[in-house]
């Protein structure tokens, strides 16, 4: 599967990036393609392009706060979870996607 993801936590200095790392690692293990955008205290990093989003099968939002520029994902199926879910148990999250 081709996946795009956005991570965002309230402070935006640690959890945002930990969640991104976990998503990338787990996706690679399971043989998915993934690109993760982080919306942290420094602003948006590794920004998803229109091409990335168009080519994706679905989007994951691992966010405890509102995701910025949400309208970009209007045509995509979005799975929304808390940041903790992506950090603590990314495998369970991905098995839910398969359903």
């Amino acid at each position: 599967m081709k996946i795009v993801a956005v991570t965002a936590c309230p402070t935006g200095i640690a959890h945002t990036y930990m969640a991104a790392e976990q998503l990338e690692k787990t996706a690679r293990q399971l043989g998915h393609q993934i690109k993760v955008e982080t919306q942290g205290a420094m602003g948006i990093e590794n920004e998803l392009s229109a091409v990335d989003i168009q080519g994706a099968d679905l989007a994951i939002f691992a966010a405890d706060i509102a995701v910025q520029n949400r309208e970009r994902f209007a045509d995509l199926k979005i799975v929304e979870v808390a940041v903790q879910d992506a950090i603590k148990n990314p495998a369970a999250l991905f098995s839910r996607l398969a359903e």
């Binding site: 309230p10 935006g12 200095i13 640690a14 959890h15 205290a41 405890d64 706060i65 808390a82």
Partner: protein, 340 residues
């Protein structure tokens, strides 16, 4: 229902997330200015040092943006970009009325809800571009401003005046009850109007030569941030890393008597955190009152220790209050888990 609560929590946290750097900026600059200035009868004395006064003013400016930014980004979290204008306007009005941080929460949620409703209105395609730049900012700000000025401002102001009138009567009555009430008010909205009502009453009593109410307040002021910070230290596994980071900032603000340090915790879980910090501040205020603590400066926290009478009782009161908050907060966490 649970899904709904998760959403509301997400909205509130969005606002908090953007407001945190403002708290840090204002809190640290004000603290440095207060710590370096000599403590006089009227509080920190800046007459000798224009530079410290300027630090104080820069910090105060950052603090005055706190409530508008909080409200603006709560509305942003709910309704995206169109939420910003009515949110900021509502927050600024909350500041102006003196409705403080609770007023900002309400204004932000209200602004977000109004914009969400307006966005649902179907408009002809040629009218669409006008909506976000003209119609929504004006109409939503009008609605939010009207509600804040007409319906929320007046009750809050009345609450304030009736509260201070009640306090004046009670000042001659039972001292323990007075201390408990002051402590509860100080913690209730963490620097908001109820907190300020208790604070100004006590500061006015200093001028009357009665230092006991301010002594009780001074102990109560630092208990919410110290207690919540201590909770994250004592029960590290119970708190997320971001909460532990907020805990350090909270401890630092508690040391210099800035109750606002507990706001990140209270904004995320108001129904749990506010009763806990209120009981801790009440305990601290009552111990300070019974221990004969008097505070000669209108400021609180360990930083005013040099101008306090009966220092041992003061330290004891703060320690007991902060410990009570930390243990209670952790017990609730353990019992109910982190999610609302």
């Amino acid at each position: 229902m649970k899904k709904h609560l998760f959403k509301v929590k997400q909205y509130l946290l969005s606002g908090v997330s953007y407001a945190i750097p403002f708290v840090a900026c204002g809190g640290i600059l004000i603290a440095v200015a207060i710590a370096l200035a000599p403590m006089g009868l009227e509080g920190p004395d800046f007459s000798q040092s224009p530079f410290l006064k300027m630090l104080m003013d820069i910090g105060s400016s950052a603090f005055s943006l706190l409530v508008p930014v909080l409200a603006g980004y709560i509305a942003f979290g709910m309704a995206d970009r169109p939420g910003l204008v009515p949110g900021f306007v509502g927050g600024a009005i909350a500041n102006q009325i003196g409705a403080g941080f609770l007023g900002g929460l309400v204004a932000g949620l209200l602004a977000g809800a109004v914009v969400m409703l307006i966005k649902k209105v179907k408009v002809p395609i040629y009218f669409k571009p006008v909506m976000p730049i003209l119609v929504i900012p004006v109409v939503a700000s009008l609605v939010v401003g009207f509600v804040m000025f007409r319906f929320l401002g007046v009750p809050i102001r009345e609450l304030m005046t009736s509260m201070s009138a009640w306090l004046q009567v009670m000042g001659t009555g039972n001292r323990v009850v007075l201390a408990a009430v002051l402590g509860a008010m100080i913690a209730f909205d963490m620097g908001g109007p109820v907190n300020k009502a208790a604070f100004f009453f006590s500061a006015a009593m200093i001028k009357e030569g009665n230092f006991a109410p301010m002594g009780a307040c001074a102990a109560a002021i630092c208990v919410p941030p110290l207690g919540m910070g201590l909770a994250t230290l004592l029960g590290r596994h119970l708190w997320t890393q971001q909460e532990r980071e907020a805990g350090y900032a909270s401890l630092a603000m508690g040391m210099i008597g800035i109750t606002e340090g507990a706001i990140p915790f209270a904004a995320a879980e108001p129904l749990r955190v506010i009763p806990v910090i209120m009981s801790g501040s009440m305990l601290a205020a009552v111990i300070a009152m019974l221990g004969g603590v008097g505070d000669h400066a209108p400021h609180g926290g360990p930083i005013v220790l040099p101008v306090v009478d009966n220092r041992l009782a003061y330290v004891l009161a703060i320690t007991a209050g902060a410990l009570a908050v930390a243990l209670l907060a952790n017990a609730i966490r353990k019992w109910r888990g982190a999610k609302i």
